[in-house]
């Protein structure tokens, strides 16, 4: 269908549209018109992605003179593929209506691991080793060697790509990662470098958050994007944490030891070069005198993740004299590593501001702030000079330099925390130096400054007024949309009491109370006997889950649960968890029924969907507060209070409720789906907690479901499941219109006098 939103003709590839999708588009259009940033919350399962894509591409089509570019950021490769598949459908619809004038180029970009087609490279397992293997075949000096000596192996795909040079272009269309690989194989071109090259010309680019937020990657990949771009962060409820992680580094003992090994190897290399090819080192020295500005002229395969901190002037400044010579630089690094080792010896927890830390480095080992700041670039330059290709071996020293550069660049918003052991396991010494970023706005600031519109969207962004403060920006549009449903297919409940009418909670003083543990157990037991297929449980932490499952096992509750359903447990090990999930799905499919125990903030809570029968019920045991004694968190809270005037309690509750909403939101993935959500903690009935849940959950949370005990919840569950199993009319009855056809929309517009109709 196609319709008008003000002067833009929107092409929508489906025959019907949800009302909330329409209003989402209207709001989005306003933000684009105003060339400002937007913050939009709309529940999952309402077709957020297609609404976004369809409006933005239609918007570009309506402005043929200067079409804005779309940069679409997703969290995972899987989401990337899903987005591109939607886009392909939209594109073919637009082409069928408009002909070739609607042609545009859209592609996904990912790491070499996902795009490489060279069998010998892609067979290595980790991301870093694929990168290193690729470099071994494509680095400029390797290729130069290969010119002379045909026995040196190179990558044929890259060679082919290089031969055609800038002639290598993708015809317009939508390319998923798989399509890129197929295209690459067909032509014999390297898909990774082709995609990297085409990103500058494409109208739509879908890639991961890191390409924009992580300054190391962003400077390489996203440097050339024009200002007139629309940046979309999808599923962005955790964007502040992503920003913080991008600028945080932790250094352990292993890192330091590895770094020392790296350093001695580099020293050997330098000696070798001195003996054979002293000219190279000399040339590098001269180059450094001129400054780092010429880095841009390096061949594409040699470029590396660039500087982690990005004040622009750093590239124009010359490298300080005392680290220009390779051996001097190495000895500086050695001293730095030694210093850090010394700091790790500490018996006590230490917390320090960056200014003090830099000062102490200067007094103890004589490295000043400026030298620290250039560490990363200097290391990079040295590694190029030394022609080191197995970069995955040198990760440790890279981490150290990364650390040093961040320390040297920023003064505010960070702190150094040194802990001799993990708070939760005080007997195992595990010293760590952590450089923690507290200010999410630091990493995202360049994005807001550089692009004219940034759209942050997710299913859970409540309370929506907190995000602008955390990220320090001014959205022109911030809106939360409700879900229009033909039937009440979600049933949230707040359970405050167990079957014996005593309150349940995971509050610290109550969580180990046997009564609470038993009540939680009885709750799960009763629920598994009335809910079919899959049930998902979320606990507040791994240690709490271990504890409670243990005591359920001792009291025999677990055995009773197993009679009804099979039990699967998430562990910190990814492989094990994937296996458990696979078997969980199989148990749901074949009708045996299963329970999945999982942890809020775990991998499962973030990325795995439990749609339709895989999740008929999700129980959130407790309120998933962060570990509040963690020094990093305390330091961040302090910073937030001082800088943004956000109260500690507010932030903690916000963070906990956003996690809880994220967990329970796993069960509803579309409107045809149905599911129940139980918030099992007495604290949820308090208004300050409850009101921070997203609107689409709150609107279904009836007053009668606010203060339940186990038996009442079981009764409600029974009735709900029976009601939902009845056949229903998908389009919605006469009363509630939830699917709008083109005529409906047109009627709406003329009646509401939104605008004059053009057709």
């Amino acid at each position: 269908m196609k319709f008008q939103i003000e002067e833009v003709t929107v092409y929508f590839p489906y025959d019907n549209i949800y009302p909330e999708q329409y209003s989402y588009m209207v709001e989005l259009k306003r933000a684009l018109d105003a060339k400002g940033h937007a913050l939009l919350e709309m529940p999952t399962g309402t077709g957020k992605t297609i609404a976004l894509l369809s409006l933005i591409t239609s918007y570009s089509l309506s402005k043929p003179s200067n079409p804005p570019k779309l940069l679409y950021c997703t969290r995972t490769v899987h989401e990337m593929e899903k987005t591109l598949a939607e886009l392909r459908r939209l594109h073919s619809y637009q082409v069928s209506l408009l002909g070739t004038s609607a042609n545009y180029l859209a592609l996904g970009l990912s790491s070499r691991k996902n795009l490489c087609i060279n069998p010998s490279v892609v067979s290595t397992e980790s991301r870093d080793s694929v990168d290193a293997a690729c470099r071994k075949l494509t680095a400029s000096w390797v290729r130069a060697l290969a010119m002379e000596n045909p026995n040196v192996k190179t990558c044929e795909f890259y060679e082919n790509y290089e031969k055609v040079g800038s002639e290598a272009i993708l015809p317009p269309g939508v390319y998923t990662l798989a399509d890129l690989k197929v295209f690459g194989k067909e032509k014999g071109w390297c898909p990774y470098f082709l995609a990297r090259h085409m990103v500058q010309y494409a109208n739509v680019v879908v890639y991961s958050y890191q390409y924009l937020l992580d300054p190391k990657v962003a400077a390489i990949i996203s440097k050339e994007m024009q200002r007139e771009s629309v940046v979309v962060f999808d599923e962005a409820h955790n964007i502040d944490n992503v920003c913080i992680e991008a600028l945080s580094v932790s250094v352990r003992r292993q890192t330091l030891e590895g770094a020392s090994r790296n350093l001695s190897r580099m020293a050997q290399e330098i000696d070798r070069f001195k003996a054979t090819d002293a000219g190279r080192l000399r040339a590098e020295y001269n180059r450094l005198v001129d400054g780092l500005a010429q880095r841009g002229n390096l061949p594409i395969t040699d470029t590396w993740l660039s500087n982690p901190a990005l004040p622009d002037d750093i590239l124009k400044e010359a490298v300080p004299g005392n680290i220009r010579r390779a051996e001097h630089f190495l000895s500086h690094l050695r001293r730095l590593v030694q210093y850090l080792k010394g700091r790790l010896q500490t018996e006590n927890v230490e917390k320090e501001g960056l200014v003090a830390f830099v000062a102490s480095i200067y007094t103890q080992v004589g490295i000043d702030q400026k030298m620290l700041r250039f560490c990363y670039d200097r290391l990079h330059s040295l590694m190029l000079t030394l022609e080191i290709t197995d970069t995955d071996e040198f990760l440790h020293i890279q981490t150290i330099c990364d650390f040093a550069t961040l320390v040297g660049t920023y003064t505010r918003g960070f702190s150094i925390i040194i802990e001799p052991f993990d708070e939760r396991m005080p007997h195992i010494p595990d010293p760590v130096i952590q450089l923690c970023c507290h200010d999410a706005s630091l990493a995202i600031k360049p994005v807001f400054d550089r692009f004219q519109s940034v759209v942050i969207t997710s299913g859970t962004l409540s309370p929506i007024d907190l995000y602008p403060r955390l990220l320090n920006f001014n959205p022109v549009v911030s809106h939360s949309f409700k879900m229009s449903l033909t039937r009440d297919c979600i049933c949230p409940m707040v359970l405050t009491r167990g079957s014996d009418q005593l309150p349940v909670s995971t509050k610290f003083d109550m969580r180990s109370d046997p009564g609470v543990v038993r009540n939680y157990g009885r709750l799960l037991l009763e629920m598994v006997s009335v809910v079919p297929d899959g049930v998902v449980c979320f606990f507040v932490s791994y240690s709490y889950m271990d504890g409670i499952v243990n005591s359920w096992n001792e009291t025999g509750i677990l055995k009773e649960i197993m009679q009804q359903k099979l039990v699967f447990i998430e562990t910190p090990d990814v492989v094990e968890t994937t296996l458990a999930l696979d078997n969980y799905r199989r148990a749901c499919d074949c009708g045996r029924g299963a329970v999945f125990f999982s942890v809020a903030r775990g991998k499962v809570a973030e990325g795995i969907d439990f749609d339709s029968h895989y999740g008929r019920l999700v129980i959130m045991f407790g309120v998933p507060f962060q570990y509040t004694l963690s020094r990093i968190l305390l330091a961040r809270l302090e910073y937030l209070r001082e800088t943004f005037q956000i109260k500690e309690g507010d932030f903690l509750t916000f963070d906990a409720l956003r996690q809880a909403a994220q967990c329970v939101g796993r069960v509803i993935r579309s409107k045809a789906d149905y599911g129940m959500m139980i918030f099992a903690d007495k604290r949820y009935s308090r208004h300050d907690k409850r009101s921070k849940l997203p609107g689409w959950i709150l609107s279904h949370l009836r007053d009668a479901h606010l203060n339940l005990s186990t038996d009442m919840a079981v009764h409600i569950a029974r009735e709900f499941l029976r009601k939902m199993a009845q056949p229903y009319d998908k389009a919605g009855g006469s009363g509630r219109k939830t699917l709008l056809s083109q005529e409906d929309l047109e009627k709406m517009m003329t009646n509401g006098n939104i605008q004059e109709m053009l057709f």
Partner: protein, 424 residues
């Protein structure tokens, strides 16, 4: 109730306020605890009439409305080929879940009661068909009665064995039924109706294979669930073309079961016309002692004799155990016939319509000759046949569609036609 509410709202305790909110939220319907007993509130189904006497509430209108909704929902567009010869296994789940008390007195008792009603209705509507019973309990399936045409023997067997325990196994039940149904001749329609109380199934192997096996041999599997939608049941029904429904309460369960009584549309591959050899046995003389071929024991009188091999069978319809001939009686055939030619749905005539066209409205029902007017001479609701435009009362409407399967108006019109012709 009102009184106590008023008192409570004065109190300032937090808990009480919450309770009250609950009350209000449910205020539209019944209280949660009341709903469970709603069926048993017999004192409410009485009302006082003008003279102060108690009499049962006249719920005929609602009953009729329900009935009409049901027939309208079944596509009655005439001349759909239907599978008249059905071989149906009813699988009753007697696992632990069947002892739950959310149906009163227990799921098991309610299921048994309704299966009994269903069996009678089934044979009434499908006299040519046969039916068997299978129980699932303790993780295994056992055959209670084999395919047969006598409602009483099935019901007797069903009522005798009502106890539940253990797990349910869908796969075992399907495998068992599959074993029986694959021997059925190809003109017969193979069906399974599963009454499933449990929420899971404990299977020895891969149930997906069993489902594919059933699909391949054209066994139509339908499930009526008693608690909630289960994925595997839904999958089973989708694959094999059956219906999947969940009962809300006891009356809904009955409704859902009875939906399975009329013959389903024929499967396309079987819809080609084919001739079936049938025997019409004679009833043996009373008092003759002969060895019954189905029970392998001597019996006195009352049996039927196969016209081909002269073996004695106890009841019709059945298959001769000796020569394999299908044995039916002619009334059975006749009674199945009406499914192929359903009577058109009568249209409702509202009182307002009738008041406009006074001259056309007769005072009496064409069927039973009772007055169409309600007590108090107010015109009530009644229906008219669109073909012969005769008027019928609601009782006759149900009787004609459910039992008689002929419209008296149309029939008499056909007979009187020559007379009208002659007059003209």
């Amino acid at each position: 109730m009102n009184n106590s509410k008023g008192k409570r709202s004065n109190g300032d305790e937090h808990e009480d306020e919450d309770d009250e909110e609950e009350d209000e939220a449910n205020g539209g319907g019944l209280e949660a605890w009341e709903r469970a007993y709603a069926d048993e509130r017999s004192w409410e189904s009485l009302q006082e009439d003008e003279s102060g006497l108690l009499r049962p509430i006249d719920n005929k209108a609602t009953y009729h409305a329900q009935y009409r909704r049901r027939i309208r929902s079944t596509p009655s567009t005439a001349r759909i080929q239907k599978g008249l010869i059905r071989y149906l296994y009813i699988v009753v789940d007697l696992s632990r879940a069947a002892s739950e008390m959310d149906f009163k007195p227990s799921r098991m008792a309610v299921v048994a009661k309704n299966v009994e009603a269903f069996i009678r209705e089934f044979f009434d509507q499908n006299p040519l068909s046969q039916l068997g019973l299978v129980f699932v309990k303790d993780g295994v399936a056992q055959c209670l009665t084999e395919l047969g045409g006598s409602p009483d023997s099935h019901i007797k067997a069903l009522m005798g064995k009502l106890e539940c325990s253990g797990e349910a196994s869908l796969q075992n039940a399907l495998e068992l039924v599959y074993g029986y149904l694959k021997q059925v001749p190809s003109y017969g329609h193979r069906e399974v109706l599963i009454l499933y109380s449990a929420l899971s199934t404990c299977d020895p192997g891969d149930i997906m294979e069993t489902i594919q096996q059933c699909k391949k041999s054209k066994i139509r599997c339908s499930v009526v669930g008693l608690s909630a939608e289960i994925f595997i049941c839904k999958h089973l029904c989708q694959e094999t073309g059956g219906l999947y429904s969940i009962a809300l309460d006891e009356s809904h369960l009955k409704e859902l079961l009875l939906e399975h009584a009329p013959p389903p549309p024929a499967i396309a591959e079987f819809a080609i016309a084919s001739l079936i050899k049938m025997g019409f046995p004679q009833r043996a003389a009373e008092g003759v002692v002969s060895i019954c071929s189905c029970h392998k024991e001597p019996k006195v009188g009352g049996g039927y004799t196969c016209p081909r091999c002269k073996a004695r069978v106890c009841e019709l319809p059945t298959e001769c155990c000796v020569c394999g001939l299908t044995l039916v009686s002619s009334p059975h055939l006749a009674r199945s016939y009406h499914h192929l030619f359903p009577i058109t749905l009568f249209s409702e005539v509202s009182p307002s319509y009738s008041s406009k066209q006074q001259q056309r409205i007769p005072k009496n029902c064409f069927g039973c000759q009772q007055s169409l007017l309600n007590p108090g001479n107010k015109p009530g609701l009644f229906v008219a046949c669109p073909k012969c435009s005769q008027f019928f009362c609601l009782d006759c409407d149900i009787y004609i569609h459910e039992s008689l399967h002929n419209c008296p108006g149309c029939e008499s019109l056909r007979h009187s036609k020559p007379v009208i012709d002659a007059e003209e």
